[in-house]
């Protein structure tokens, strides 16, 4: 076996997978930042909640009949969409004119509310997540990549490209950007700010659900707060590193974050520096914000 395998190849590959998970969540975060200049703290929990309803539907728990996997996934995606729309209507829209920080604290409130609601529904016990794919994509002497892991990378890449195209090529995408930059003028042109906002949150909810279902698939279980605990902060870091205004930035940022973390964890043992992954990440984030506040791919403003 190549002696470099553990130190280099493994962190690269596992960082890629882990980072894709962050990137998927980061994509939703970037979308909302791009359109409304807010950080959505409830993004990961939208994912958790959606993954939980998908798992409910998959296993026939509670009000759900025992559905086949594709339908269960659909239930999860619809939950994410619905949550996005609901949050927009009940929390975000009344705060249109409030300071952005207020909205951000409100999304933190939504995060806690979703944790509580998830707890009401399923309790603290982890549920096994919906398993979309079961096989191994790649197994070597030092590395194992599951099909779900590979799927996450592919989905992230596709979504990152698709959403970049969405914003540059479609009318709706342009409208979202226009609203974020020029609400008054956009309204004059006849674009409904409210509709656009609802649309943005709907898409963000959907992205959250996709991320949640895939991420819980790689972890194996889902419980209230699980994805927030695992991935929220790295996803934020990914979004900021990549540049919160650039959609492919989430992809790049996610992968960078995943690899940095993985490298540090693999190569710095716990008794030398505990939590080395997070330390390195913090330093990286700090440096990027100080030196290049717009992020790796973002445009300087």
């Amino acid at each position: 076996m190549d002696p470099m395998a553990l130190e280099v190849v493994v962190p690269v590959v596992s960082g890629l997978i882990q980072g894709s998970v962050y990137g998927l969540l980061g994509l939703g975060l970037v979308l909302l930042y791009k359109s409304g200049k807010i950080f959505n703290f409830s993004q990961a929990e939208i994912g958790t909640f959606s993954a939980m309803t998908a798992a409910f539907a998959d296993q026939g728990v509670g009000p759900f009949p025992d559905l086949p996997v594709p339908l269960a996934l659909l239930v999860g995606l619809l939950t994410g969409l619905g949550l996005g729309l609901l949050i927009e209507r009940v929390v975000v829209r009344p705060l249109f004119s409030a300071a952005k920080v207020t909205v951000v604290v409100a999304t933190a409130g939504v995060l806690l509310l979703l944790v509580a609601l998830g707890g009401f529904l399923s309790g603290p016990e982890p549920r096994s997540a919906v398993r979309i794919l079961e096989g191994d994509f790649l197994t070597t002497s030092s590395l194992r990549v599951t099909d779900t892991g590979a799927l996450v990378v592919v989905v992230l890449a596709v979504l990152a490209v698709a959403s970049a195209l969405f914003f540059s090529r479609t009318r709706t995408g342009t409208a979202i950007i226009a609203v974020s930059q020029e609400p008054t003028a956009t309204r004059l042109v006849g674009i409904s700010v409210e509709r656009t906002s609802a649309l943005t949150w709907g898409i963000a909810g959907l992205l959250g659900a996709i991320a949640g279902i895939l991420l819980s698939g790689t972890v194996g279980v889902v419980f209230p707060g699980s994805l927030t605990f695992i991935a929220l902060v790295p996803a934020f870091t990914a979004a900021v590193l990549g540049g919160v205004t650039a959609l492919p930035g989430a992809f790049v940022g996610g992968v960078v974050v995943g690899m940095i973390e993985s490298f540090a964890q693999t190569n710095i043992p716990k008794d030398v520096l505990p939590g080395s992954g997070k330390v390195v990440l913090f330093v990286a984030l700090l440096v990027v914000l100080l030196v290049r506040p717009a992020g790796l791919l973002g445009k300087e403003t």
Partner: protein, 502 residues
């Protein structure tokens, strides 16, 4: 095969030795057994490899059927044997090795501001008496004694609801006609389960708050949490009896109010090696994956010493503690890194001690190894379920454990309601231990008499193995069950294949 078989024989011989030494029981224990004939039958013939389903096949996975049958393979003994002193204690001579528990134990009262009525010394009927000693947690009006069980209802990442249900299952449903079980004929016990969130700080907060309302506290699982509660200033000052499963020995040897009712991790290390020898995975490449808490230092050092002594292999060459021990955080987010480390080290056997959710994830990441260890005190069923759901080739291994598989426990706990998992069985067994401890008391029942009488003797066991304190140690565990874990579809299957005595 032959060496293994002879080892099996040795175990059998040891078993009978232990059986006979049961004659050396302390009088109190004998009395307790006499008073509760139903309890003692538990582990009937000493250490038995129980064939629970009775079809004669002990397991499908072991390479050495002879070893499993070391004792008598007889399902009947598990449930039967009413009055006999079935579960022997291994006598005072074998306890206390490596511990420094003596000296501080025994007398029960440890001063403080509370009453001074010495425990077992006073005479009179055995029951709580108002004003005699510290009777906190005893409601004289409704004749109810409150006991608190703490465990990680949340935070460990696997289903742990059984920490809540195990207690009531014992005190409220295991009595005559599936009704409440009464102490001294008329006293009820109320169990309150509190969540320690798998976090020592919250555990200590919960225990300190329970000291006000509970007579005694039982620590279900979680080393850091148990240690935090055991060392509590508040509990010590209020003489709160604190009984737990055996975990670490660090800082717990000299506590007047603390009792470990089962083997500590350190005490189990030689047994882990014994199981590896018997099941044929000792001469393999071993990795030790363990949480980097000082509370696991004794477990870590003892298993490393045993592995080195017994010539186990490591990543390259002989097992080397510097290379082959992987430290983890207390609640890591996922096992990707550790999984890759295990894979690239080519490890064949993994000794794992850590958070249950993390354990399950690591098995998913690296399913090819045989997993072993002292296990999470309780909760191996949840881990197995989680690991088997991963669908990456399943989970196989042997874990030592304070409680046996469900069926064995069921048989030992005659007439009890069905157990949902090992946690429930373990808590049930812990409650049984508490009842046996209550029955050791002579005269007025209070915290002081509880502590002094238990410290002087031990418990005869039942679902759990017997414990012997004998005034010498607070780590009174005498044995553990070797549970074999396999997957059946997406469910983990736990099967007790042997009972090991220290």
């Amino acid at each position: 095969m032959n060496p293994s078989r002879s080892r099996g024989l040795a175990v059998a011989v040891l078993a009978s030795a232990v059986l006979t030494s049961a004659c050396g029981l302390k009088p109190e224990v004998k009395d307790a057994l006499a008073q509760n004939p139903g309890l003692a039958g538990g582990a009937g013939g000493g250490q038995v490899a129980v064939d629970t389903d009775g079809d004669g096949t002990v397991d499908s996975f072991t390479t050495d059927p002879g070893a499993a049958g070391g004792g008598t393979t007889d399902a009947g003994t598990a449930g039967g044997g009413t009055g006999t002193t079935g579960s022997g204690t291994s006598g005072s001579g074998s306890t206390g090795s490596g511990t420094s528990g003596s000296g501080t134990t025994g007398s029960g009262t440890t001063g403080g501001g509370t009453g001074t009525t010495g425990g077992g010394t006073a005479s009179g009927p055995t029951m709580p008496v108002k004003g005699q000693g510290n009777t906190t947690g005893i409601d004289f009006a409704s004749k109810t004694i409150t006991v608190v069980v703490h465990g990680p209802l949340t935070g460990a990442g696997v289903p742990q609801e059984s920490f809540r249900t195990g207690g009531p299952k014992y005190w409220e449903q295991s009595g005559p006609n599936n009704g409440p079980r009464l102490l001294w004929g008329e006293w009820k016990v109320k169990v309150v389960a509190v969540d320690d969130k798998y976090n020592a700080q919250d555990a200590l907060r919960a225990c300190n708050s329970a000291a006000k309302s509970a007579f005694a506290i039982f620590g279900g699982a979680g080393t850091d949490q148990i240690q935090a509660c055991a060392q509590s200033q508040v509990l010590r000052r209020a003489n709160v009896p604190y009984v737990s499963s055996g975990v670490t020995e660090s800082g717990l040897g000299n506590l007047p109010n603390y009792f470990a009712g089962s083997l500590t991790y350190k005490q189990q290390s030689p047994l882990v090696i014994r199981a590896a020898k018997e099941k044929g995975y000792l001469n393999k490449k071993w990795a030790v994956v363990i949480t980097g808490t000082p509370n696991f230092a004794d477990a870590r050092d003892s298993i490393a010493a045993e592995l080195v002594k017994n010539g186990a292999l490591g990543r390259s060459g002989k097992f080397n503690p510097d290379n082959d021990i992987i430290l983890t955080e207390k609640a890591p987010r996922d096992c990707l890194t550790v999984g890759n480390q295990l894979r690239s080290g080519g490890y064949e056997t993994v000794y794992f001690l850590g958070q249950p959710l993390f354990f399950g994830q690591c098995v998913n990441q690296y399913p090819t190894a045989t997993y072993t260890g002292p296990g999470p005190s309780f909760g191996i069923q949840s881990v197995a379920d989680l690991a088997c759901r991963g669908g990456a080739g399943g989970f196989k291994g042997f874990y030592l454990h304070p409680s046996p598989d469900k069926a064995t426990a069921q048989a030992a706990a005659k007439g009890a309601p069905t157990f949902t998992d090992d946690i429930e069985a373990g808590i049930w067994g812990g409650m049984q231990q508490l009842e046996q401890a209550f029955n050791l008391i002579k005269g007025p029942v209070n915290r002081e008499s509880f502590i002094s009488s238990l410290a002087a003797a031990g418990t005869p066991g039942g679902v759990l193995q017997p414990s012997v304190f004998g005034g010498k140690t607070r780590f009174g565990g005498t044995g553990a069950f070797l549970n074999q874990i396999t997957c059946s579809g997406t469910n983990g299957v736990i099967k007790t294949v042997a009972t090991y005595k220290k």
